[in-house]
């Protein structure tokens, strides 16, 4: 595990990043309940894994946290900012990579990143530096003048990560950041997330349990919109008397 648990192994609070809290968060769409009474916190500087089968409510949880969706009830705190009170302030603290990386394909990579830097309030004189910085960080050097739509999927995923980083947010929310990538790209993206996590609070959803094992120490398991468990991976395997996160997960989800 060359880059695995770094960023997770240190005592909490030893790194920068702010805490994120969800308290009894429920979101309904009409009569359908997407998530119900979801409570967990992401500690400053940790990478927390969000697990669950398709339709468990992972994306809804992330959308509520990033302010794309409102909670029907319950409370969210990003740092000490309540998005229902100060949505703009809370959004400034978050960088978000949505599940389907939704990029403007008709824009050049550098212009695309400048656009988001400006929209997210990066000061004019610092904008070029920030864009340069994230181009290097996300491994986009050499393709920064190409159209986003002309890039391969792996590179587009890097662009999605770069836009989430461009305003240097203390919180990163990554919805299945390695989905659809080839194995080499998966390894590269994980390395990148590992590096980014050193200075940030990260909430990451994934179907790939070995990925979660590599990047996270703690996980939240969701199913049918409810939290089944919030715990260290080690404690989870102990509690379920299983040998790996995969077995523990299956035992939890299958009841």
């Amino acid at each position: 595990m060359p880059f695995g648990r770094e960023g997770c192994g240190l005592p909490f609070g030893a790194m920068s990043g702010v805490a994120v809290q969800l308290e009894g968060v429920t979101r309904r769409f009409g009569r359908a309940v997407a998530i119900e009474d979801v409570t967990f916190d992401v500690r400053p500087g940790e990478v927390l894994g969000l697990l669950g089968p398709n339709g468990a409510g992972k994306t809804t949880t992330m959308r509520v946290l990033t302010g794309y969706l409102r909670a029907t009830s319950g409370r969210v705190l990003v740092g000490d900012v309540d998005p229902s009170v100060d949505p703009v302030g809370a959004k400034r603290l978050c960088g978000y990579v949505p599940e389907a990386s939704a990029l403007y394909r008709d824009m050049r990579v550098d212009r695309f990143l400048r656009f988001w830097a400006q929209l997210r309030g990066v000061a004019r004189d610092g904008r070029s530096d920030r864009v340069e910085r994230v181009v290097t960080q996300a491994g986009l050097r050499g393709v920064e003048h190409q159209l986003v739509g002309a890039l391969s999927r792996g590179y587009r995923q890097r662009v999605a990560l770069a836009q989430a980083l461009v305003h240097d947010p203390p919180v990163l929310v990554l919805d299945e950041p390695t989905a659809g990538l080839d194995p080499e790209q998966v390894v590269e993206t994980r390395k990148l997330i590992g590096r980014l996590a050193k200075t940030r609070t990260v909430l990451l959803s994934s179907h790939l349990l070995n990925e979660v094992t590599q990047l996270c120490r703690r996980v939240v398991v969701l199913d049918h919109g409810r939290v089944l468990a919030v715990d260290d991976i080690a404690a989870l395997t102990d509690a379920t008397r299983t040998g790996s996160l995969e077995e523990a997960y299956l035992k939890l989800v299958r009841g």
């Binding site: 794309y68 403007y104 824009m107 988001w116």
Partner: protein, 229 residues
Amino acid sequence: MIAGRELRSAFGTAFGFGLVAGFLAFAGLLLVLALRAGAARLDDWFAWLFIATGVLAPLLAMRTLADEERAGSLELLLTSPVRTAEVVGGKLLGVVSLFVLLVIGTLVCPWLVARMGNPDAGPIVTGYVGLVLVGVAFLSVGLAASAATANQLVAAAASAGLLLALWFGAGIADGLGDGAVRTVLRYLSPSTHVTGFLRGTLAAGDVAYFVSLAVVGVYAAVAIVEARR
């Protein structure tokens, strides 16, 4: 900033370019037809441009929010530290800028007429003021339709349908005889409110009508985006 992106992206597509070219060609063709009557006057020309705007505006506005929603980039916009009203406002400003550029392109028509004859300047000035007002109002309606669906064609059809219904509602109302329905339909129809511009008068009521329509459109677009969150 959102407006700038909108404008560049419209010119970057064959569709946007085609719309611009099509509208200008239409304006030119209308001019030829208007001048065949032999008089150096442009009220018919303006009247047709107003109706053409009822078709053009939905086509210009249809992709604004619908395409963001379809592509999923609305998620990035709405998780950025900007208010929904700013996103909608930026989109409107983008398409309005494009429309104003188009309107400026048509200035060659009155210029040609002025070289050939001696048209009355008043109706031309008020005609252009009216054209911009109508454009902003119709684009706002298009924006609201674009907010309501992820499908551009549905957005265009809905707003064009609504605008044409409003426009020709006055004519239908006339067939209904006198009564409250007729009065209301006539008042709601943009066609009632453009006649002043064609004659060279700027009535506060007409201006207020188009400004109100624009405000309602923007307000509806913001409300629709907010309601989905």
